[in-house]
């Protein structure tokens, strides 16, 4: 959270009234209204009911695949940065290889520092080798795909912690 204040005369050091937020959350849930907004001066609290009562029912029916799963879109929106990490995703469908050729050293290991543009892995698609570069400089925190396994478009491959 930012430590500088964004508006003149405000007192941002003051703690947020989380207990009041909680009470309003309660009220929204209990009362089944769509939204409650309370503003007083610089303080503004808005609580919206979760929309889509439709699909929330989906988990109730176990084997019926036809009921939509909660779309993964929302998840994807947030994933590029998780806890300040950068996600490197696959730009193509293909087979993920961590090293240039079988038996050779992996391009990167967890803990390695990489520079933007440095090759992290290759993805083979239709006999074409696609080198996948790091888009930021930083540390390799996690490798998310298995060597020699298939990856789909947009599948997360690595977590990088960008340099400050």
């Amino acid at each position: 959270m930012s430590e500088t204040s964004n508006r003149a005369g405000e007192s941002p050091q003051k703690p947020l009234p989380l207990d009041e937020v909680e009470k309003i959350v309660d009220l929204v849930k209990r009362s089944d209204v769509g939204e409650i907004q309370v503003r007083r001066g610089e303080l503004e609290i808005t609580v919206k009911a979760r929309a889509e009562p439709l699909l929330s029912a989906a988990p109730a029916i176990s084997h019926h695949k036809a009921v939509p799963e909660p779309a993964s879109e929302a998840a994807q929106e947030f994933s590029p940065k998780r806890n300040g990490l950068c996600e490197v995703r696959s730009p193509v469908v293909g087979t993920f290889y961590r090293s240039p050729a079988p038996g050779e050293e992996p391009y990167v290991e967890v803990g390695d520092r990489v520079k933007a543009g440095q090759t992290l892995c290759i993805i083979e698609a239709m006999k074409m080798m696609n080198e996948i570069p790091a888009d930021v400089s930083g540390e390799v925190v996690e490798v998310l795909a298995e060597n020699a396994e298939g990856v789909e478009y947009d599948q997360p491959l690595f977590y990088l912690r960008p340099e400050e």
Binding site: L54, S56, A57, A60, H64, A66
Partner: protein, 458 residues
């Protein structure tokens, strides 16, 4: 000519009739109870009249209210659907008296077939094989014993005014005859206001097969290849198919001819179903249902006939065209999707349909009054939807059934959908021709969220 039909029913069958009226250019009038104000049958009919409170005895069984509604709306005919007043001869008679065409047979034919003991006698006289047993009603346990001595045990005592397993008792030996007789009579009296019972040889294993009949006002009778309705739970049909698997062609012809002979000797008019038990190559008459059945679509799918449209035409006095019963094609199976939880003793479910998406694609028909957001009233029967699949062969129909059941999405309450998938997975069912004891002989198991049937070890 019929210009306007009052549909004296609710749920999917009311929709079925409203759709047929619409396609025939006939105006439809829905009647509904206050519990059904959000129902599709109310919304899709041309007119709708509220006839009473939720309790069916005061609405869907309320003869004065329904007749009044028909008179108010100026309906010239009433379609009773199934259940409710559909086999009530008094209702049919009142319709006849007030000059409203009852879409079905005469009140006399309904009454004749409504008395199950008398119907047996009537069928036997028409040359239809009946199960060995009493001639008409049994007045005492002694008569049950006399039949037992003659045809052997086990026997089954049935309520003459009955149906659906009520007032029914199996008698394994002469010792049990007196107790079973009085229990059955008592239950029959309590359930139907009439304690009369009759007795038959108890055949087991047996299959339930039935023949769809259409008869016009001019003496023509059409019959269709038999339906097999042996997948039952507590005498309630769950899965029906047509044609019945492994029935020899001469038996099929025997069934169809028997059904035609009975309809003929009754001077029957409209749609009806003659029910038989089939056991070891022989078939015997059980009863005739003088109305449309829940499972009529399986016949429609294989025969390419529209039975409700035919009912409307017959009611209008039009003659049947024998070309309307062309050779059946392929195989059809119907699944009754009920608001019951098969994982918890088939506990009835009520509540709101949170999500609803019926399956589509080739060879799939859905008859249902559901929609997303529909609140299922707790007052009526549990049928939510009928899924009917049709394919070139029984094997293909089973595969299509699996596909469609798996796509069928109903959320907000538990249904019998997973039970049907378990039935289709059963090897005996896949071989075909299982007896009515099929479900009783199996237990339901929950495996990784899927329901499976397992034979009960002896």
């Amino acid at each position: 000519m019929i210009g306007k039909v009052l549909v004296a029913n609710r749920g999917e069958i009311a929709l079925r009739v409203i759709r047929a009226c619409r396609e025939a250019g006939i105006r439809s009038v829905a009647v509904y109870s206050t519990a059904d104000s959000g129902s599709l049958h109310r919304m899709l009919a041309d007119e709708a009249i509220c006839i009473g409170p939720p309790n069916a005895s005061k609405s869907y069984l309320n003869i004065p209210a329904i007749i009044s509604a028909a008179e108010l709306a100026g309906a010239d005919a009433i379609h009773p659907g199934y259940g409710f007043l559909s086999e009530n001869s008094r209702f049919a008679e009142i319709c006849e008296r007030v000059g409203i065409k009852f879409i079905g047979p005469s009140s006399q034919a309904i009454a004749q077939m409504g008395d199950k003991a008398a119907a047996r006698v009537f069928a036997a006289e028409a040359g239809v094989p009946i199960t060995p047993g009493s001639t008409g009603v049994c007045a005492s346990a002694a008569e049950v014993k006399r039949v037992g001595a003659e045809v052997g045990y086990p026997l089954v005592i049935k309520a003459s005014a009955g149906g659906g397993g009520k007032g029914m008792r199996v008698v394994e030996s002469e010792r049990e005859a007196a107790g079973a007789f009085s229990a059955a009579s008592r239950e029959a009296a309590a359930s139907f206001g009439d304690g009369s019972v009759y007795v038959e040889q108890y055949l087991e294993p047996l299959r339930h097969v039935e023949v769809q009949v259409l008869a016009d006002a001019h003496g023509s009778v059409l019959t269709f290849p038999e339906r097999d309705c042996s997948i039952q739970r507590r005498y309630q049909k769950l899965v029906e198919e047509s044609p019945a698997p492994h029935i020899p062609q001469e038996v099929r012809e025997g069934l169809m001819n028997s059904a035609a002979a009975l309809a003929d000797s009754l001077g029957y008019e409209g749609a009806g179903t003659v029910e038989f038990v089939y056991s070891e190559g022989n078939f015997y008459f059980i009863e005739m249902n003088t109305r449309l059945q829940v499972e009529h679509p399986v016949t429609e799918m294989i025969a390419g006939v529209d039975l409700v449209a035919e009912q409307l035409e017959i009611a209008a006095g039009e003659p049947l065209d024998p070309a309307e019963a062309p050779p059946a094609k392929g195989h059809a199976i119907e699944f009754r999707i009920n608001a019951e939880d098969p994982r918890r003793g088939f506990m009835p479910q009520a509540g709101t349909v949170e999500f609803y998406n019926p399956p589509g694609g080739p060879g799939v028909r859905v008859d249902s009054h559901l929609y997303p957001g529909y609140k299922i009233p707790a007052h009526y029967d549990s049928l939510l939807a009928k899924l009917i699949v049709h394919a070139a062969s029984r094997e293909a129909a089973i595969r299509r059934g699996v596909r469609a059941l798996d796509e069928f999405a109903i959320a907000g309450l538990e249904t019998t959908l997973p039970l049907h998938l378990a039935v289709l997975e059963d090897e005996d069912f896949q071989r075909g021709g299982v007896p009515t004891s099929f479900l009783k002989e199996r237990e339901l198991r929950n495996e990784k969220g899927l329901l499976r049937l397992a034979s009960v070890s002896a």
